[in-house]
Each structure stands twice: as C-alpha cells, then as structure tokens.
Amino acid sequence: MTFTPLVDTFLNLGTFAFIGVLIWLYTKAPTDPDD
C-alpha cells in the first residue's frame, strides 16, 4: 500500500469522473434544438 494514498486516489477519481462528464458534453449531450 506504500504507493496508494487513499485521499489522493479518491479525489482524483472525482476528477476522472468529471472528465468523463466533459467527454459526454462534447460528444453525446443533447443540445437544445431551438438554439
């Protein structure tokens, strides 16, 4: 476990999830058809 500080891993999982959301926003998220 020497190489695995848990807080760091946990916080970065949040960041990775956010990057996933961004990829969805750029590629799949439906836009307003009126725009």
Binding site: V7, D8, L11, N12, T15, F18, L22, L25, Y26, A29, P30, T31, D32, D35
Partner: protein, 496 residues
Amino acid sequence: MFRNPLLLVALAVTGGIAAWGVIDNTGLAALSATTVATLFASRGWFIMLTVSLLLLVAIWLALSPYGRIKLGRDDEEPEFDTISWLTMLFAAGMGVGLLYYGAAEPVSHFILIDEYVSGPEAAERARFMTNFHWGLHAWAIYGMTALVIAYFGFRKGCANLISAPIQRVFGQRAWTLVVGWLADLSAIVAIAIGVGGSIAMGVFQVEGGVASLFGLGPERGGWLPLAIFALMCVAFVLPLLVDLSKGMALLSNIAMALAVALMLFVVIVGPTSYMMSGVVGGIGQYFWNVLPHGFATFTFFDENVEGWFQSWTLNYMAWWLAWGPFVGVFVARISRGRTIREFVVGVMVVPTLFSMIWFGVFGSLGFYGILRTELPILEVVETNINETIFFVLDQLPLSFLTTLVVVIAAFLFIVTSVVSAAFVLGMFSTGGDPDPAVKIKVIWGILLAALGLVMLLSGSIDAVRSIISLGAMPFVLVIHLLVAAFLRALVKEPVR
C-alpha cells in the same frame, strides 16, 4: 428579495464564511490552508491542464475561421475605440496586485531558486516565473470567461449569468437547471471571497506605504490597518448608495495612470539600461518557454519546490479563476462588436505585454539591488513583504512622492474594484438584472467588507491566498462547462 433562493443562499454562504472568520479566524485560516494543500497536491495537474487548454483553445479560436465571428450582430461596430478599449482592459484584471507584487514577487522566487542555481540564472528564472503567473494563462482564464459571456450575451441575447450558456445550449432540463444554479452560486462565492481578499491585500499595501511615509516601525500595533480598512469601507459604500458608475471609471483610469506614471518615472530615474535589458530579455524568454511551461507540475522535485509551486503558481491560477467571472463580465461589456480574433489578441496579448514590462522594470530594480548593491532586499521580502515596493522606491529620488502615489493608486484600485464587484454580485444574484437595486448592491458591499475584514484579521497574505483558492475551487469545474457550451454553440455558426 426574499423570494430569490439564489440570493438568499449566496448571502448565507458568504455571510457564514465571514461570520466564521470573525468568530474563529485562526480556525478558518488553518482549515483553508490544509484543504487547499490537499486539493492542490491531488489536483494540481488538472488545474494546470485546464489553464493550458484554455490558452490553446483561445489561440485556436483566433487563428480559425471562427475568429471572424462578431460578439454581437454581424453588422455591429465596436462600442469603444481600440485605444480606450485596451486601456480599460489593463485596469480591469490586475489592479492592486501589480503594485503589491511588482518587486516582491520576482525577489521571492529568487530566494528559493537561488538555492538550486547560481544568482544570475536564478534571477532569470524568477523573472520568467513572475511573467508566467501574470501572463497569457491568467488572461486566458479571464478572456475565455469573458468571451463566453459576451458571445451568449450579445450574439444570443442571453442574460449576463454564468448559468445562461449552459441552459441555452443544453436546453432547460433538470440537470442544466441544477448545474446552472450551482454554477451561479460558485461564481458568486468565488467573486465575493476573491474581492474580499483583494481588500485585505490593498489594506496591507496602503498600511506598508503609510508606515513608510511616516516612519512607523513594526511596533505600531493593529490600529493602522483597521483605520485604513474603515476609511476604505466609507469610500466604497458611499458610491453604492448613488449611481456613480461614470465616476468609478474615472477613478479607475486615474489609478491606472498613476501606476503607469510611476513605472515611467522609475525607468527614467533608476538604472535605465539594466531595467530595459531586463524587460526585453524577459519578453524573449517568456514567449520561447510559455507553452511547455503551462504544463509544468514540478513532479520530481523536493517538498520545498512542491510547496512553492502550490503556494505561488497554483494559488495564482486559482486567484485568476476566482476573479474570472467578475472581470469576465466587465471585459465582455466593453467588448461588444469586436470579432473573436480581435478579442483574443486585445484581451490576452496586450495586457500580457504590459505585465511583462511592469514586472521587467520593478523586478529588475529588485535584482539590481540584490546582485549589484549590498541592500538588504532579500531580508525585507522575507520579513515584511508588504513594504517591499516602498523599500525599493526609497532607493530612488522623490521617494516620499512615489510612495504616496502607490498608496493613492492602491486605495483607488480597491475602492473601484469593490464598487464594480458589488454591482456584478448584485446582477448575478438577481437573475442577471442589468440594474440591480441599490439595497442589493449595498448588502453585497457590506458583505465584501466583512470578508475583507476576516482576511485582514488573518494578518498574513498567505492565509488570504489560501482562503481565495478554496473559494475558487468549484469554478475550475464551471469554466469547463462554459467552454463546452460555447464550443458546441460555435460549431453551429456558419463560417466562411
């Protein structure tokens, strides 16, 4: 007012932070410092990636055919001529920080870097780091926030709200309403804490100047900063009660003119060729290294360097993010009718060049003192960073006058910033009302003062910076959402 949940929650959050700071100042400062250190250690890479991407997107926009798109109707002409526009941009983003850090920052970096490389090389690297903190990346944060606000405000007719682009592009859905609401709240909190921090910094700066003018030593006690703070509060609450927006623009221009006059004076009476060489060398060094350095995270260095990277580079980026929505609204308002290309060049390149000239002059003056004389500049920076610029000015003629100029300019920068911030906070918290009610602006003015007092009580610029960084953290995420909405709207534009 009581039927507006965003306003109530925003007032409760910022008021709660202020109350906490008054009751348990040490606790707030300590918690901010440890939380920010944890966040910076784990997400430093993401912050640097974010600011570098913002810069690359801005450069791509300027070079691409999208650069021809106007921030307004296609036939709209710019509201202000180019010179006035550029002058207003200078004053918007930097203000009191330029005065505070002009000589202090390059010398602070020098102290650390000198432990690793020789004196002259340490000075060059310290100059680069200062230019990096105040350069294209800072203005990319401001510029991209402003660009999104301007594009959706002037071209799409949206309200001046951080949530507006998200809801416009992705529609009125449950997630856009929730995320939009949180984005508005995070912008308000970031602005309030960021401007509160600048009030404290302005008070520290004016205090240093007054102490230098009247020869008051460190034993002067805590009455002086509180007296300056009280005077500042009177100066910014009065203009909020009556509409003095034109007067504020004038005061801001006076502050900027004083700063520029001070710089010219220093260039003429100081070691001119040394400073000019410092400026020119700094510009070349900056543009040659800036893009790769935007991705530098100092991963393999020791704890000293890691701590320095967090407390300077990451802190600065968080600071610019905190001010982003506030400066963004202002820059957007004065940029109506410009094309995206003009906007990117004007907002990012020109202020960066100005910062490099400024820090080239004041930084070189500091290095002249260190490398060519026996002056104890390093000790001054280490023991009382607030008084660095006054110590440096003391080595030049007419130091009483130049110190007075710094004090007046710092005071004016803070007063005009707070008045504008109270306006923007009023607008953001009332659904984008372009003319928020006087009582809302006064409430925000008082809250800004309370936050300023809290940071003042913390007594140190480091505590101020960590509280600002904490307030700005959510905006690191929000700015990505804004850019995503903007780019998805942009690709629908017909470009030739």
